[in-house]
Each structure stands twice: as C-alpha cells, then as structure tokens.
Symmetry: C2
Amino acid sequence: MSLQNTLKALSDPIRREILNLLKGGRLSAGEITGHFSVTGAAISRHLSLLREADLIRDTREGKFIFYELNASVLEEIMLWITDLKGANDHAEEE
Amino acid sequence: MSLQNTLKALSDPIRREILNLLKGGRLSAGEITGHFSVTGAAISRHLSLLREADLIRDTREGKFIFYELNASVLEEIMLWITDLKGANDHAEEE
DNA sequence: TTAACATTTAACTTAATCGTTAAATATAAC
DNA sequence: GTTATATTTAACGATTAAGTTAAATGTTAA
C-alpha cells in the first residue's frame, strides 16, 4: 500500500514541484501556495496527500504550519526500480 | 513531459505488475492478460500506456504481439529521486 | 472577546481514469 | 475465401482526482 501511495503522490506535477521547493528547506503552506497559480485550498489538499504518503512532515508554529521534505520513503521506489532495471540490464547485455 | 508520463504509468498497480511479469522475459498480450482478472481490452489499454511511456516495447510475431520490458527510462526517475534524497540526506546529517 | 490572519475542510463541478461490452483489425488455418 | 484466434479500438458508465468558492478551525493580537 505504501509504494502505491508514494507513486500516486508523485504522479502529479504540482506535488513534485512542492517537493522540489522543499529541497531548499522548510516552507509554510502560504509560502508554498505563493509559488503556484492555484488556490490555497488546492495546495492544502496536495500537501495532505503528500503527508499521507509520508513524503513531507508538518509542524505548526504559531499561526503557520511549516512543511519539510521527508525523502526517506523514496528508498522503496529506488529498490523497486533497481530490481526492475537489474532484470533489464541483464537482458541488454545479451 | 517524459517524467510525467513515466510516473503516471507507474502509478497503477496493474501496470506495475505487468512490468514485474516482464522481468521474467517477453510475453504475449494474451499471456499477460492471463495473469489478471480484468478483460483483455483493459490490459490492452494498460499496455498502450506503458508503451507510450516507453517502459515496454512490442513486436508482432504472427498473430501474437510480444511485449518486453524497457527499464532504461526509469533512469530519469532515479536521477530525480537521487537529487531529492540528496537534499534530504544532508538535512538529516545536521 | 473581537478582529485578523493562516490554513484546512466541505460542497460542488469538471475532467480524467479504469473497467465493461461490442465492433474493428490483423494474421493464420482450414 | 471463410472461419478462428489474438489483439486493439470505440462507446459508454462508474469512480476517482483536481480545481473552485465558501465555511470552519486554530492562533495571534488589538
């Protein structure tokens, strides 16, 4: 169920861009929203999906909620792909 | 556009399972269909999406169409994830 | 305790996705 | 050439996804 959640979360370009933004450090929901041309409500839903996939973590500080990247769950995708590529690389050698 | 296509293709469990099946070698559309409890038409559409994402290649041989894995496009995802994880790993060290 | 700000949740609309059945296409076999 | 087999494409219905606006929640500050 976890790999499914992760890949689903990554299949949307806005959500991927949010992750890219968070590479530079934690940002509040409002700061994230500022980077896109959709409403805060829409971004909030994207953030919630990313959180459910455990790709981000959130901390409230006063009236702000800060989001930060948690890329460790991507390890599972790396393993899955490595497995798949392994089989393929072998085939390409023939 | 390519990363988007690839991740979209990978976001469906049946399509991922098709790729897993093809790890073991080429299979005809019918053989692939046999592994699932959906119709051949549904599998055909999944195969077409995987082909558009260049994750598989097809060759007709007589009345069969054989599909084989092309995992090389997954490299792009690996790079994207590595980039993301790199930023995150650094943060975790602090 | 009211007003303002930051964010989420709810209700709704539209578009995309996935499945089905039926028809079309391509090849092989009789 | 007609029939059978393998696969795809078309047309349709159901479900999910993504966006919007409006209302709700949580926090700070007057």
